[in-house]
């Protein structure tokens, strides 16, 4: 029994991370019909902004491969999370202005290449500043295993799960209830109409990219104590998160979140059977979803009214 509970808990913990990043993909897709393919580099960049902030705020020196555990105590970790989110958000505005806006809404796929290129630049800058070695980041809640009905989980994993759910609930509320959210939905539906209704379309689009990139930065600092911060950490997570978004439905933020959790638990469960088949199972599921429900498990098929 505790074997299955362990599988579920481990899966939800990693699924929360996927969900958070998948949500970022969904936000830019619904508002601008483009995706930020540098999302993975934003995760890694965010993690290192977090590392730098922890060290600066605590005044402690880092060894080459680890941040001392006192550096993450008290208010410093939340400050680093917010700081990384803000910096990544600003970078998100930059990527929109430089790499997406010139191409968005036009035919062709230029923005795919330009966002990928932006990611490569970001990674090269990161390598020059922080070097290639992974850095272990301490969890603000300590590292002792918590036992839940026989299954073990780290405090940081619960923190990631809690933060993911909290952020997603807040965003859901904003999107559905507030004027900003309604403006974003209007832009997603039709930029021309939204513009005629007096909505500042390009401001909404900038906001969407800032928000999506900020989420990636926050995710980076949240994952770092679990996976350790590395400039190569983001790619794997971003690919899984994108898969989660496809499974859940790219144009449905809630669906992306469900997709993230489904993927996390699925991976963990396949590990109970044959771990080396995990990626195959995941991508078979994606192919099945694309074949039978192209808009995702929770997406609504778009009906173009002419």
């Amino acid at each position: 029994m505790d074997v299955y509970l362990q599988t579920l808990l481990s899966g939800l913990a990693i699924g929360g991370v996927y969900a958070l990043i998948a949500l970022g993909f969904s936000i830019t897709f619904t508002t601008t019909k483009t995706l930020n393919f540098a999302q993975g580099e934003f995760i890694a960049f965010g993690a290192f902004i977090g590392v730098t902030m922890l060290l600066l705020l605590s005044g402690l020196a880092s060894t080459t491969t680890a941040v001392p555990s006192e550096a993450a105590s008290a208010w410093r970790y939340p400050a680093a999370v917010i700081g990384a989110g803000a910096v990544a958000g600003l970078m998100g505005i930059l990527i929109f202005l430089l790499a997406v806006r010139p191409f968005a809404g036009k035919g062709g796929m230029n923005w795919v290449m330009s966002t990928l290129g932006f990611g490569v630049m970001l990674q090269s800058i990161g390598l020059a500043v922080w070097g290639p070695a992974p850095v272990m980041v301490p969890s603000p809640l300590g590292d002792d295993v918590l036992r839940i009905a026989g299954a073990g989980v780290r405090p940081q994993e619960l923190l990631v799960l809690a933060c993911a759910i909290l952020i997603m609930a807040a965003l859901d509320l904003v999107m559905r209830r507030s004027r900003i959210g309604k403006a974003m939905m209007a832009v997603a539906h039709s930029p021309q109409t939204a513009s005629l209704m007096g909505i500042n379309v390009s401001l909404v689009m900038i906001g969407a990219f800032a928000l999506s990139s900020g989420l990636a930065g926050v995710a980076g600092v949240l994952i770092a104590p679990i996976a350790s911060a590395s400039l190569f950490m983001g790619m794997g997570f971003a690919l899984k998160a994108f898969s989660a978004a496809i499974i859940g439905g790219l144009n449905n933020p809630r669906g992306c979140i469900y997709g993230g959790f489904i993927l996390g638990v699925l991976e963990s469960a396949v590990g109970l059977w044959q771990a080396q088949w995990r990626e195959i199972v995941v991508f078979v599921l994606i192919i099945l979803v694309l074949a039978f429900r192209p808009a995702g498990l929770f997406g609504q098929a778009a009906v173009d009214k002419v």
Partner: protein, 398 residues
């Protein structure tokens, strides 16, 4: 052109050539080709270069070899195979080095091992551990690839010997990462286990970036595994022992030597880092000679756990110098003959080498030179127990 002019020109050209070859004759160039900056293992390469430089200082202080001084030409391969191949040609053809030491990454040695053989220019590995690096291209082919370092297959032989001789071991499990490194280790594990009629009850795999291996561990647990043999890189082994803690399952854990990396220690944390037992060439309990070199290099070494590579590379250079001396020449084929049949013992940091190589044996260090190691209070110390004490050289057969 008159005959007279030609004669003058020939004389001039001849003397110029003589001068340049005289300048060349003053020094014997040795090359180093390996990653010094790009990957986490770059620290191993940096330590290796420090070791070579120390050995060259010592030899030159004693008058050099064949009356000539040694110099080192260093090339960084940024851990990229194409760059590493290019460096080999540059070192051998342009710089005219007589031998190349390195590289840092096993994969790069595998990418260019045909070059030393084609150009008849010896290569002495002192960092990378992949088994196939020193294998000849075909059964009786001339082999210019030598090594003074760990060898994966010899480590696997050690782990299997420990498992086989441990009376409390009933059920063995293999756990490897899905990379080339992990799969190569699994192949060695399976072959050597079969040779010793050891049958694993479970074999599981995990990804190099995985952060939770509880599913795989739960499977081993339900199969009743009490001893697990792990072949993976440092960081995932760190994640593995963290996952062990989650489900409170701690079988006897024997791992590849990657557990000596700082990245393993940082990921696992101080307490959990003490779980795995592995093999390594040097521990913190250093011999006086090792301590001497350590004290000499410590101020310049970024990562103290990379000291073993400084020692290997120091010895590799010493053996190379001995081979040049015996050959009385820096010609590749003559050096190869000398390498394969070294008469005088070579005083090294790891040990004194008596005939370290032969025509068929190109490994200077074997399982008998390795030490059982584990982390204790943040240090790599020699590990011993009744099983280790009872192990005989015959148990390490490959």
């Amino acid at each position: 052109m008159t005959p007279k002019h030609t004669a003058v020109k020939a004389a001039l050209l001849g003397s110029a050539l003589a001068m340049s070859s005289a300048a060349y004759a003053q020094e014997i160039k040795i090359g180093f080709n390996g990653d010094l900056s790009a990957s986490p293992s770059a620290q191993s390469g940096q330590a290796g270069v420090l070791g070579i430089q120390a050995a060259i200082e010592d030899i030159n202080a004693a008058g050099g070899v064949l009356g000539r001084k040694l110099t080192l030409v260093v090339r960084d391969d940024l851990s990229q195979p194409p760059k590493s191949i290019q460096n080999m040609s540059d070192l051998i053809d342009n710089e005219k080095v007589v031998a190349v030491l390195g590289p840092t990454n096993s994969g790069n040695a595998l990418a260019w091992k045909h070059i030393p053989n084609q150009k008849k220019n010896p290569s002495i590995g002192c960092i990378g551990s992949a088994t196939d690096i020193t294998k000849p291209a075909s059964a009786n082919a001339e082999n210019y690839m030598y090594r003074v370092s760990m060898v994966d297959r010899a480590q696997v032989a050690g782990l299997i010997a420990y498992t086989k001789n441990n009376p409390i071991t009933k059920n063995v499990g293999f756990l490897v990462e899905t990379t080339g490194y992990g799969q190569g280790g699994l192949k060695d594990l399976q072959e050597l286990a079969e040779a010793k009629s050891l049958k694993p009850v479970a074999t599981e795999k995990f990804g190099v970036n995985d952060t939770d291996m509880t599913s795989q561990l739960n499977k081993l647990k339900s199969a009743g595994v009490d001893t697990v043999l792990v072949w993976a890189q440092g960081t995932p082994i760190g994640q593995l022992v963290r996952s062990m803690e989650k489900i409170n399952y701690f079988p006897v854990t024997l791992t590849s030597w990657s557990s000596d990396n700082a990245s393993f220690f940082d990921t696992a944390g101080k307490t959990l880092a003490e779980k795995p037992i592995f093999m390594r060439t040097i521990t913190e309990d250093r011999t006086p000679k090792q301590q001497q070199l350590y004290d000499r290099l410590a101020p310049k070494m970024a990562s103290k756990s990379a000291f073993s590579f400084a020692a290997h590379c120091y010895d590799a250079l010493m053996i190379t110098a001995a081979a040049i001396k015996q050959a009385g020449s820096t010609e590749g084929p003559k050096m190869r003959e000398a390498f394969d049949n070294l008469q005088a013992p070579v005083e090294g940091i790891m040990k004194t080498y008596y005939k370290p190589f032969s025509a068929t044996e190109h490994e200077a260090l074997t399982a008998a030179d390795y030490r059982w190691t584990r982390w204790k209070d943040g240090k790599l110390v020699t590990y011993t127990d009744d099983v280790v004490k009872a192990l005989k050289p015959a148990d390490f057969t490959q």
